[in-house]
């Protein structure tokens, strides 16, 4: 498979594919962080994760329309406003869903799978009724389109860099919240022993709600960013959900660092293989390797050491 290319071409290929892999890595991290918080820290299998992302994408669509109509001069900047509003909208919906649905199911984690799957269907139909069945086109500010040439062969898409910067930023923010803030400490305490955490005075109910809300909010920001590279439609969230779970489970539920490591290894492997094999075969091989590793290490790459 290497024989078709010269050495210099191979060098360029690995550089280009390495960079394509980095973009894919950032996309995976953005998709998975919200779920890593919800699934990893709370044990809730949130099948509606994709729909929370798409809510963020629709917020971006609305904000872009508002800016185009009322503030055309500031159109280049609308994306930042859109991301903040996406976080608020998805987060608020997350708080509401936790209050109305999830909190009744903490003792039955498998039922959260069915409940949130139902929720995802409801949300899809809701988007379809409000925004129409067809995909909507989100116009991206000009400065975010296009690419920067590095060499003859290698060009770097600007929106790829934007997604990477965003992924790093949000990862840092989540890390700080999780390991440096009071809230993070409480979340981790509840994760380890819910009853004890309550007994020492942690408001478990409110912490759960906030955690779920933040996880959904992060999903919303991811969805907002993905309007640059993907489609915005009622069912577009379904495109992401499998990869998202794959990344979180492979990394080891409960470990944010594991999620990032697994996103990195899956994205680089897939991107290099995609070049030499067809896209479908690359996907098949990636999944096979992941399944193989999970059979040997069911707890994922990184697992919390807990005394059970």
């Amino acid at each position: 498979m290497f024989s078709d290319y010269s050495m210099s071409e191979l060098g360029a290929i690995f550089a280009m594919q390495g960079f394509a892999g980095l973009i894919l890595f950032s996309v995976f991290v953005l998709m998975a962080l919200g779920l890593a918080i919800i699934f990893g820290q709370m044990g809730v299998i949130n099948m509606a994760h994709g729909e929370f992302m798409i809510l963020g994408a629709y917020m971006t669509y609305l904000v872009s329309n508002v800016f185009a109509a009322y503030l055309p001069g500031l159109f280049g900047m609308y994306f930042f406003v859109a991301m903040i509003l996406a976080f608020i909208a998805s987060g608020a919906l997350g708080l509401f869903v936790e209050w109305s649905l999830i909190r009744h199911l903490y003792k039955r984690p498998l039922d959260t799978l069915l409940a949130t799957w139902g929720l995802s269907l409801i949300l899809q139909q809701l988007y379809r009724s409000v925004f129409g069945a067809r995909e909507v086109g989100v116009s991206i500010p000009d400065w975010m389109m296009g690419s920067m040439p590095v060499t003859d062969m290698i060009e770097v898409p600007i929106n790829g860099i934007f997604v990477m910067v965003l992924a790093v930023g949000i990862s840092l923010a989540v890390y700080v919240m999780m390991f440096r803030s009071n809230w993070g400490k409480q979340v981790r305490a509840i994760n380890q022993n819910r009853v004890m955490a309550g007994a020492v005075g942690i408001n478990t109910e409110w912490t759960d709600r906030l955690t779920f809300g933040i996880g959904c909010g992060v999903a919303g920001v991811a969805g907002s960013a993905f309007t640059m590279i993907g489609s915005t439609g009622p069912t577009a969230g379904q495109l992401y959900i499998v990869d998202t779970f794959l990344v979180v489970v492979f990394g080891g539920a409960g470990s944010i660092l594991g999620t990032i490591a697994s996103a990195f290894s899956i994205s680089q492997a897939q991107s290099i293989m995609e070049f030499f094999l067809s896209g479908s075969m690359a996907k098949v091989l990636t999944l096979l390797v992941v399944v193989g590793i999970l059979m040997i290490r069911p707890q994922g790459l990184f697992a919390l050491k807990l005394r059970k």
């Binding site: 790829g160 489609s231 495109l239 896209g279």
Partner: protein, 422 residues
């Protein structure tokens, strides 16, 4: 109708009936679309127990209104309803108004089969306009053949099928592919092609035909062929491959949400389609899809279809304005939507030619049916139940519409089992 002839009873033809018939014939010279129900007694036009009464006939519409495919199938439903309302406004079929029973296939193939059975067995509909994906058509096919139903299927598809119970109003693969490849070879001097598609039967069969045609008939070269799973959203790898192989033409058959991701990332990677280096030729992006992709991401690409909304002929202008009047000004009309619009009209013509709603008679009458009022222009039903139609190439513009840059001079013969392409 002022020249209403006297009504007659359900008994056999009498002298009066013959007179009445001739009166109707005279009338039909002035308003050729209106036939009178009383000239066609229900007992004679419906011998197999279909849902036909003295003044109504029931047809089914079977598309996905919910689920993934709702994006694509909504336009078809709208077109079919428009055609039916226009036919009713002209007096219906054999003097009977069309009534519609609509079922939702819900983007789920077993559901399509179940709803098809319901339409045929419980509702006894005289014909069905429906299905969109090949998977849904394959799912309902045994039902239609078992219960002898009649389906009008609107989507361009991979061919390799010819059912006595289906009329295919979209193009089969060769009709959509060959003329477009010839065009890009002749006018653009294209020699090397990169074939790309979503990983399922339609893109694979179509690319197989395209490859054979490029290699055996055009003397060109296929420098790469790649398939990505449905719903794939990351195309940076394949874009890098294209950059490396430097083909003259990217031949893309990507569908659904992947479509949007592919064109956005192509643009972001710095491949400017308006520069035609490389040329992008697709058979999967209609005006409907551009709504989601965004005109700015699609500008400069070529699409090979049989119909574009911008077609400049009287039929199409009337069709587009009627469509917008019924469904709103913002709407766009793609290739499949137009093909769906043909379904009810072709059925009407076949029923009137047969003088009966019986499926066997309608089937026998169908080959040779001509439609001069089709928005795409003149079409004709072939012996193999597909349509003779022209192939056209459009250039995508910033506003999401296509400029028609080429059309075949003659109608292209449908050939669902193309020899030399298998």
């Amino acid at each position: 109708m002022s020249k209403t002839p006297p009504s007659k009873g359900p008994q056999g033809p009498s002298r009066r009936a013959v007179l009445a018939g001739s009166a109707a014939l005279t009338a039909s010279l002035f308003t050729p679309k209106s036939l009178l129900a009383q000239d066609f007694p229900t007992a004679e036009v419906n011998t197999t127990g279909l849902a036909v009464t003295d003044d109504t006939v029931t047809v089914g519409i079977l598309h996905s209104i919910t689920g993934t495919m709702a994006i694509s199938e909504t336009g078809s439903v709208q077109a079919e309803k428009l055609a039916i309302s226009q036919i009713n406004a002209q007096g219906g079929i054999l003097g009977r108004k069309i009534e519609v029973i609509q079922e939702d296939g819900a983007s789920d193939w077993p559901t399509f089969a179940e709803k098809a059975r319901k339409l045929l067995v419980n509702d006894k509909v005289a014909s069905v306009m429906g299905c969109w994906t090949s998977a849904s058509r394959k799912a309902v096919l045994p039902v239609f053949e078992q219960h002898n139903g009649f389906l009008y299927y609107p989507t361009f598809y991979e061919g390799l099928e010819e059912s006595p119970n289906v009329i295919y109003t979209g193009q089969e693969a060769t009709q959509q592919i060959i003329a477009g490849l010839d065009w890009v070879k002749e006018t653009k001097g294209a020699n090397s092609f990169y074939l790309l598609g979503s990983d399922y039967i339609w893109p694979r069969t179509s690319n197989k035909i395209a490859r054979k045609h490029i290699e055996n008939f055009l003397g060109g070269k296929v420098v790469g062929e790649d398939y990505y799973p449905l719903g794939h959203t990351q195309f940076n790898s394949v874009i890098n491959k294209i950059r490396l192989k430097k083909p003259d033409v990217i031949y893309a058959i990507v569908v659904g949400g992947s479509n949007v991701a592919f064109y956005k990332q192509l643009k972001a990677a710095g491949i400017d389609m308006t520069a035609e280096d490389p040329i992008l030729l697709t058979i999967s992006v209609t005006e409907d899809e551009i709504l989601g992709i965004g005109g700015e991401n699609m500008e400069g690409a070529y699409a090979c279809m049989k119909y574009f909304q911008s077609l400049d002929n009287e039929n199409n202008l009337a069709f587009v304005s009627a469509f917008k009047e019924m469904w709103g000004d913002d709407i766009v009309i793609g290739d499949v939507t137009q093909a769906a619009y043909l379904g009810p009209w072709l059925w009407k013509a076949a029923v009137e030619k047969a003088g009966s709603f019986d499926v066997d008679k309608v089937r026998a009458a169908s080959p040779g049916i001509e439609l001069t009022t089709a928005p795409e222009g003149y079409v004709k039903v072939h012996e193999n139940h597909h349509l003779w139609s022209k192939t056209r190439v459009g250039l995508a513009k910033l506003d999401g519409q296509y400029d028609v840059v080429f059309e075949t001079e003659e109608l292209v013969e449908p050939d669902p089992f193309p020899e030399g392409y298998q």
